[in-house]
């Protein structure tokens, strides 16, 4: 055999792979032979391998199904946790401090603007400025005037805070006007508020009554929310260096008073009230009329509703 190997080796290098292959085979046989003699240890190893594989598979399967089962659990959002009162030990045994409503069922506020009634007196604007100490040059609410001319163009201007009396705005020739109306703007208090979602420090939050508020102590003034609001309702207050916006006068409504702009409207174009009370003026008005919201396509679900909007109003 060796001889032939040698001859093969001498005859040509082509036979070399065959030799190595044979050697490998020869090396292989003692091992399989050993397997038969030391069968106990070898077989035991195989069984333990099989066991661990089975264990691994069963654990992996239970983990996968377990994680699926977890998704079936009811999701708890912060709003729902706020509604459910904490058990006494978790709450330090104290009565939960509720600023307005009972823990079980919070009050829900709504706002209706009747553009068919607004006369553009601007009284709401100065009232809001006085009530909320809004710095000059900034506004929490404003009133737009839409003028549709007979040639099809639409002009929008802002109602001066003093009303139109002695205003410097150019006088519009009524003969050229098709229709004209005023649209008061204020915070829409969206159910899915984009301004709230983008706040990086949880300084922007929704009260249990559904009012969007700002924690001025924690606001870092990054202005992200100012960019996020599709209605342009937020601004950075230069006095506090914090974001600021219309709160529907949260400090008034929680004392059973009306927001300042509602109080100041001489014609009842702004209606504020409780949505959860069917006897409130707001609920009655909402039940009797058809209303619209601004930029409905954005899916922000505003709680501020309007009567008499035209498609040009954005």
């Amino acid at each position: 055999m060796n001889k032939s190997h040698d001859s093969a080796g001498a005859s040509g290098c082509g036979s070399r792979p065959a030799t190595t292959g044979l050697n490998i085979l020869n090396q292989g046989t003692p091992c399989s032979g050993g397997g038969s003699c030391g069968g106990v240890s070898c077989g035991g190893e195989q069984r333990s391998n099989a066991d661990s594989r089975r264990q691994f598979l069963s654990r992996a399967t239970s983990m996968v199904f377990g994680s699926f089962a977890l998704t079936l659990l009811p999701m708890e959002s912060p709003e729902t946790t706020a509604e459910t009162p904490l058990p006494a030990p978790l709450n330090g045994g104290a009565v939960p401090a509720q600023p307005v409503a009972s823990a079980a069922k919070p009050v829900l506020y709504g706002f209706l603007v009747d553009t068919e009634k607004c006369i553009g007196s601007g009284k709401c604007l100065s009232a809001c400025r006085t009530e909320n100490h809004v710095p000059d040059g900034y506004s929490r609410t404003w009133v737009e005037r839409y003028i549709h001319f007979k040639d099809g163009t639409v002009q929008v201007d802002l109602v001066p805070e003093t009303g139109y009396h002695e205003s410097t705005l150019p006088i519009v020739d009524a003969a050229l006007v098709d229709k004209a109306y005023f649209v008061p703007k204020l915070c829409n208090q969206c159910v899915d508020a984009p301004c709230n979602q983008v706040c990086p420090v949880h300084a922007s939050f929704t009260s249990p009554e559904g009012v969007e508020l700002i924690d001025t102590d924690h606001c870092i003034g990054c202005g992200y929310c100012v960019q996020a609001c599709p209605y342009g309702m937020r601004y950075i207050n230069p006095e506090t260096n914090s974001a600021d916006k219309c709160t529907w006068c949260y400090h008034r409504i929680t004392k059973n008073e009306e927001p300042a702009c509602v109080e100041a409207c001489p014609v009842g174009a702004r209606v504020f009230g409780r949505l959860d009370d069917p006897e409130s003026e707001l609920s009655k008005r909402l039940g009797a009329t058809r209303t619209q919201v601004l930029k409905e396509h954005l899916g922000t679900h505003p709680k501020l509703q309007y009567i008499g909007l035209s498609k040009e109003v954005v």
């Binding site: 139109y164 002695e166 004209a180 109306y181 400090h251 929680t254 001489p266 014609v267």
Partner: protein
């Protein structure tokens, strides 16, 4: 034997690592409890105290119910008037300080309530309370402007005064020759 427990040689390192982790962890927990406000998460993912702070702010504007507590005759004057839904503050200003004085005077009869000042006709003078016999007050609502609802009583001042044959056209209190504020009698 010595080879079997050779890993014990490294326990000192393991102890150092464990101690480091404990120190780091407790430091993080301490920092977290220090940085997160106590009332955070009370109602939701925000500082619960912020809600109370905002709700505790004192209202500035007065409502009619406060005014009518003392000036109840005005309520009767306005009962049949087109101005019955017009709040006091539209024509008389806010009256916040006036209210505070009245409350003090109710407790101590020796105190006198300051009289309301006359208004200068400028909407940016934010007087607390003013007596107004000024056409600017009337015209802030009733001057005809493009955009007003058709059913609202609006006038073009010049033609209205000419129609009614008013004499002192430029006088600030020209409106009050025919109308009163509480019951304008249109």
């Amino acid at each position: 034997m010595s080879q079997q427990f050779s890993f014990l040689r490294d326990t000192r390192h393991l102890q150092a690592v464990a101690l480091g982790l404990v120190v780091l962890g407790s430091g993080l927990i301490a920092a977290r409890s220090h940085l997160i406000p106590k009332s955070f998460g009370e109602h939701g993912p925000y500082r619960g105290d912020a809600l109370r702070e905002i709700a505790a702010q004192q209202p500035v504007l007065t409502s009619d119910t406060s005014c009518l507590k003392c000036h109840d005759s005005v309520h009767e004057e306005r009962a049949e008037s087109p101005h019955k839904d017009v709040a006091c503050l539209h024509c008389h200003g806010n009256g916040h300080e006036h209210m505070a004085q009245a409350e003090k005077a109710a407790a101590d009869p020796g105190l006198t309530i300051e009289k309301a000042k006359p208004w200068d006709g400028d909407f940016f003078t934010r007087l607390d309370l003013f007596i107004t016999k000024d056409r600017a007050t009337c015209l802030s609502c009733h001057e005809k402007v493009v955009g007003m609802p058709a059913d609202f009583r609006s006038i073009d001042v010049k033609s209205h005064l000419a129609d009614q044959g008013a004499e002192n056209i430029d006088s600030p209190d020209v409106c009050f020759e025919c109308h009163t504020g509480h019951s304008p009698g249109i």
